[in-house]
Amino acid sequence: MDLFAIIRIAMRALARNKMRSVLTMLGIIIGVGAVIAMLGVGQGARQTMQEQIQAMGSNLLFVGAGTVTRSGMHMGWGSTKSLIYDDMLAILRECPAAHAVAPGSSSSGQVVFGNDNWATRLNGTEPQYFDIRSWPFLEGSAFTQNDVEMSANVAVIGETVRKNLFGATDPVGQTIRINNLPFRVTGVLVPKGTSAAMGDDQDDIILVPLTTLQKKITGQPWLRWIMVSAVSRQSSYAAQQQITSLLRDRHRIRAGDDADFFVRNLADMADVADEAGRVMTLLLASIASVSLIVGGIGIMNIMLVSVTERTREIGLRMAIGATEGNVQQQFLIEAVVLSLMGGITGIIFGLGASYVITQTLGWPVLISPLVIAIAVVFSMAVGVFFGFYPARKAAQMDPIEALRYE
């Protein structure tokens, strides 16, 4: 008996009880739909987090000046004076996994333009910083190495600063006052939004040449941080080790003592965020799959009813030559047809639900073809799993008893 004939028979048997079949399928429809939508939401969130971490810079490492404990009191990170410009040059020279470096020092400042003022973070750095963080310009450009050498009064502003100070005015070429010093704006950075990993507004910032900050604002010749980009994402762990051992050596820190700096690996953070996203996806999907199992039990229930109802038919089929295998196959395929039809409808519903979620809640939803393929296979598996017992029950009937059944 060929498969198509059996599928046709199964379809007809299901069509005989349309309402019942549809209600049974509903369990699978809801289950598969929920799994599809939840996986879509989870994967979308994970993708967004990845993109945000990518947005912070590729293969980025952050070397920060460490803490100092003075009279038993921790002074917070960046309070040591031991991280210096030569450390940065040494990293570039001696760590093979380090691709590019940018020095930095931080302060805060009151910025004034016309009648508007704004308090913001003030960072001093060098032009390669923008490449390392892969941070392009919305308007204008970065200050130059020449500006750094001249300690020029030039500034790059973030989107939040632009919004608050300039409104509709084009900021490039305008002069702002930072802590009462005049600075010419050379560029506006593309907004990066709120950092997923740090939770702060990355666009609320002004960047000036490192030397300008050191000489004219803070008066501190040491560095607060060094940004390092590794050769590749894989090599960022190697870079972390190389930098740590290099700086421990340069700062003459004995084995076992706490370092006066720290190295943070953004690949690490990306992995943590990815893991968090994965766990969330899994959690959502497993909650949704509970309804799939409930749907499967519904199929089993209906198939058991159907087998009992059709006892005489089973007896007849056996009497006219159906083997146990034939009968089992017939009911198993009926269950699979039921669950597969439910599964396919569920996929359509899931896609619809994802679209609604994107439209109304604004959450990014990502549905890969793999997820759909898995949903199809999974709903089939539900049919086989929950259809097996009823089909087995049908196949093991005694034809004589079955024919006599009223």
């Binding site: 008996m1 004939a5 007809r12 005989r16 005489r312 038919e313 007896g315 007849l316 089929r317 056996m318 009497a319 006219i320 030559g321 159906a322 083997t323 146990e324 295998g325 034939n326 034809p399 004589i400 024919l403």
Partner: protein, 261 residues
């Protein structure tokens, strides 16, 4: 119908190369909890090709058990059953299913047609389990329906057919795989007397064409249309007679009143 022109059926025990059914010393026990029911106590029957045999007996006489064994739905506890020379008492379930499919045609009291399935598709059912093509199966099914006089009702559903017509569909279904024997279990039990005779007419005609028929009934009126009558009692064969002066169903119908309603 020229019944007299048919070769005379041989009596049990006589030598006949055309033996279809040979049941020897069949015993059947059932275990019902603690008690053991002895349904058949040594039944021996030999049926030749072309015979038309009725099996009669009160309920509990063992006739149904015997029919189930003849139909390969059940196996004897002891004894031997040869169907066309093949010892089927030793076959596996799967092989028995194949035998039922190809060598035996079943007709039941309750017709057992699939509802919401056309007459043609009902008749096609056994061909689905035989290894024949769909086209061949359909061709044979149409032929079988034509043979029982329902060539014009192929697309009708059982609910659109009378009881007699439904039973004729069931007979067509039993014939579609060209079996060696036709086993009918109370085929007229659900039918009025006129329709019953019509069904017997079909059986007589099929038998005239050489089909071996074994029919279970408890109505002597029906049994008289067969050539031979076997009586069961208490799990044993009590009588085994050849019917003298058996009536032709086609003649009997003429004398029956037409149903008014």
């Amino acid at each position: 119908m020229a019944t007299t022109s048919q070769p005379e059926a041989s009596l049990p025990g006589t030598k006949d190369p055309e033996t279809v059914i040979l049941a020897e010393e069949i015993h059947k026990y059932y275990e019902l909890g603690e008690t053991r029911v002895h349904a058949l106590r040594g039944a021996t029957v030999k049926i030749a090709r072309g015979e038309f045999v009725t099996i009669m007996g009160a309920s509990g006489s063992g006739k149904s058990t015997f029919m189930n064994i003849l139909g390969c739905l059940d196996k004897p506890s002891t004894g031997r059953y040869l169907l066309e020379g093949v010892d089927v008492s030793s076959l596996a379930k799967k092989e028995l299913a194949a035998i039922r499919n190809r060598k035996i045609g079943f007709v039941f009291q309750g017709f057992n047609l699939l509802s919401r399935t056309t007459a043609l598709e009902n008749v096609e059912l056994p061909t689905l389990y035989a290894h024949i093509s769909k086209a061949e199966g359909e061709k044979r099914s149409r032929e079988a329906l034509a043979l029982v006089g329902l060539g014009d009702r192929v697309a009708h559903f059982p609910s659109q057919l009378s009881g007699g017509q439904q039973q004729r569909v069931a007979i067509a279904r039993a014939l579609v795989n060209r079996p060696s024997i036709l086993l009918a279990d109370e085929p007229t039990g659900n039918l009025d007397s006129r329709t019953s005779v019509e069904i017997m007419d079909i059986f007589q005609k099929l038998n005239d064409e050489g089909l071996t028929i074994v029919l279970v009934t408890h109505e002597p009126d029906i049994a008289q249309f067969a050539k031979r009558s076997i009586q069961f009692r208490d799990g044993k064969i009590r009588r085994d007679d050849r019917n003298q002066n058996r009536p032709l169903a086609s003649e009997v119908i003429k004398n029956l009143p037409k149903l008014e309603d």
